[in-house]
């Protein structure tokens, strides 16, 4: 972790993270400081006026298995910092499985395992010395169905991200961080007056933004979104998409989607997967307008899938 990229006091004082296994910050600044793109410096999202440089994720020969069946068959793929990468492909092609390997959630399923490397900047998250919990704090995840914790209020849902991951001593600025996470998720205006009411009382779209706020509260470097809008109506979907646009200024975003219009709207780059393999990846407009692989063309033009 390069300290200059992390003004957050929480990350600097984090004892829970395995310091010795942090990514080495190379003398030249390392890849983490590399994306000196204009928007990286202008990361003013809500109350978060802190410039934050996003991080890069790279998959190397990634294979994922459920028991003996191979669902992801050796993928090499780079998710550049400060960009939204969409993963498209028919159901069962391994999109979700691949994404779940990035924050090591794949291994939570009994009998599931992964091979190959997932590099968060230069850190291999599958390195035996790496703490899986530290990986998940750095790589947030938003799921298909909004799933706020049913016993918790709106405030507690967002705070849970911190309470579940941090020790007692670092909870001082809890309410400040809850507010900035809610602002970051574009939900603050709607819920600031009823923070103590149940999180499940919100509408579907608000619940999903609450879940995004919950992830943001932990200050992740990467956000994985597994079909985050598939349970939402078009207006709620639009709000999430606007949010993604803002969030990418400080977080690297990977979004799995079935909706190709959505990929076209939000993603800088799009990857097309088929039967566990990566068929093609490139800038979104190229994938949709002049794909090099005929299978990609058939899929994006709706001939199958």
């Amino acid at each position: 972790m390069s300290p200059d990229a992390h003004p957050s006091p929480i990350e600097q004082t984090s004892e829970d993270m395995l310091q010795p296994h942090e990514r080495p910050s190379s003398p030249a600044g390392g890849p983490s400081t590399q994306p000196a793109t204009p928007e990286a410096g202008a990361g003013a999202v809500g109350a978060q006026s802190v410039a934050k440089v996003a991080h890069e994720v790279r998959l190397e020969r990634l294979r994922a298995f459920y028991g003996s069946s191979e669902q992801v068959k050796g993928i090499d793929l780079r998710f550049p910092p400060n960009q939204v990468t969409a993963i498209i492909g028919p159901s069962g092609c391994g999109k979700s499985t691949m994404v779940r390997c990035i924050n090591r959630m794949h291994e939570e399923i009994p009998g599931a395992r992964a091979e190959g490397r997932v590099l968060l900047d230069e850190l291999d998250v599958y390195d035996p010395a790496v703490d899986v919990i530290a990986v998940r704090r750095a790589v947030g995840m938003v799921f298909q169905k909004p799933n706020p914790f049913p016993t918790m209020s709106i405030f507690d849902n967002v705070a849970s991200g911190l309470r579940l991951t941090l020790g007692r001593s670092r909870r001082g600025e809890l309410s400040h961080r809850v507010e900035s996470a809610l602002r970051g998720a574009g939900l603050w205006e709607e819920v600031s007056g009823r923070l103590s009411s149940p999180g499940v009382g919100l509408s579907g779209g608000q619940q999903q933004r609450l879940c995004i706020a919950r992830s943001l509260a932990v200050d992740p470097e990467v956000l994985l979104m597994d079909e985050p809008c598939s349970a939402l109506d078009p207006i709620a979907t639009l709000r999430i998409e606007e949010l993604i646009e803002q969030l990418k200024q400080r977080i690297t975003i990977v979004i799995v989607t079935h909706n190709m219009q959505q990929a076209a709207r939000v993603a800088d780059r799009t990857a097309f997967m088929l039967a566990g393999e990566l068929v093609e990846v490139g800038p979104t407009d190229e994938i949709f307008t002049k794909p090099t692989d005929p299978r990609t063309e058939e899929y994006v033009t709706g001939k199958f899938g």
């Binding site: 990986v135 799933n147 579940l164």
Partner: protein
């Protein structure tokens, strides 16, 4: 075409056939009859408890111990204070043993449960235990803690027998509820970077709390109403015993010994004690539900 304009042909095609109408009426009637039949004893039990039990209730009924001197026209047969306190103490201790262990077993089965063969073996034994007659638990404690140690009856031995009885009920009901908690909830907590124990204690358990309460209360109610496991573990005494180390009276035992008495007064005391037992369980139920609702959004 509006309904009024339908031709008779068309109406006949869309009308409910008389046969189906009959079948429907028959099915509904049968189910209603079953419900009413089941309702009869339930209503009668409550009715008799109230009519006979309330008659026995009085201030001294709750504040005096049974005297046991009824044959010689003694002034008073006494109340059921020792039985109430005995039941409260023994069931409280039994709950304190069985609920944490039972919930712990259920958590292990659902949240970890590896290796699977061992988890399935545990489930099998829990199922077997659920079906074991309650007197067998009493017998087990009798053999191990009374014959085995050459000692005598004691309240805590009754508690142990009751906790054995409660354990499988708590485990089974808690397991069912824990399995109902959506996996997505655990996943989202894990994906936040929460350690598994925090996921369990902060997310899974609070979500399951209300549901678990039902099963736990069922176990408590069952233990509170059992006579058999106490017969030769807690012994019997008319005196109030605050120490779980001594002989101990209990409501079910009091009912059991009173109801066989030739004296009407004593039989009425059994009714009063039965109503007390039911009232205690009802109050416990209400209090627990109230507490659970309060703690929902603490």
């Amino acid at each position: 075409m509006s309904a009024h304009g339908a031709t008779p042909d068309r109406l006949a095609r869309f009308a409910v056939s008389p046969r189906r109408r009959r079948a429907d009426r028959l099915a509904r009637g049968t189910l209603l009859a079953a419900t009413l039949v089941a309702l009869v004893p339930l209503v009668l039990i409550v009715y008799y408890l109230l009519v006979k039990g309330l008659g026995a209730w009085s201030w001294s009924f709750f504040t005096t111990d049974p005297t046991g001197s009824t044959f010689f026209g003694g002034s008073s047969i006494g109340g059921i204070k020792s039985a109430i306190l005995g039941t409260l103490e023994m069931v409280a201790l039994a709950s304190a043993i069985a609920i944490p262990i039972g919930v712990g077993v259920a958590l292990w089965l659902v949240e970890y449960g590896q290796p699977a063969w061992f988890a399935n073996t545990v489930r099998f034994f829990v199922d077997v235990l659920t079906g074991v007659p309650s007197i067998v638990f009493g017998l087990f404690i009798y053999i191990v803690l009374i014959i085995g140690t050459g000692s005598t009856y004691a309240g805590y031995k009754g508690s142990l027998a009751l906790s054995l009885l409660m354990l499988p009920v708590v485990i089974r009901s808690a397991e069912v509820i824990l399995q109902l908690i959506p996996g997505a909830l655990r996943e989202s907590a894990l994906a936040l970077g929460a350690p598994r124990w925090k996921v369990i204690f902060r997310v899974v358990l609070p979500t399951a709390l209300t549901g678990m309460l039902t099963g736990v209360l069922l176990a408590v109610a069952r233990a509170a109403g059992e006579t058999a496991p106490l017969l030769f573990t807690a012994g019997h005494t008319n005196k109030t015993s605050l120490s779980l180390g001594g002989f101990m009276n209990s409501l079910p035992y009091q009912i059991y010994s009173d109801v066989t008495s030739p004296t009407t007064e004593v039989v009425n005391r059994a009714w009063g004690a039965a109503l007390t037992l039911v009232a205690m369980i009802l109050i416990l139920n209400l209090v627990a539900r109230l507490v659970a609702r309060r703690s929902r959004l603490a």
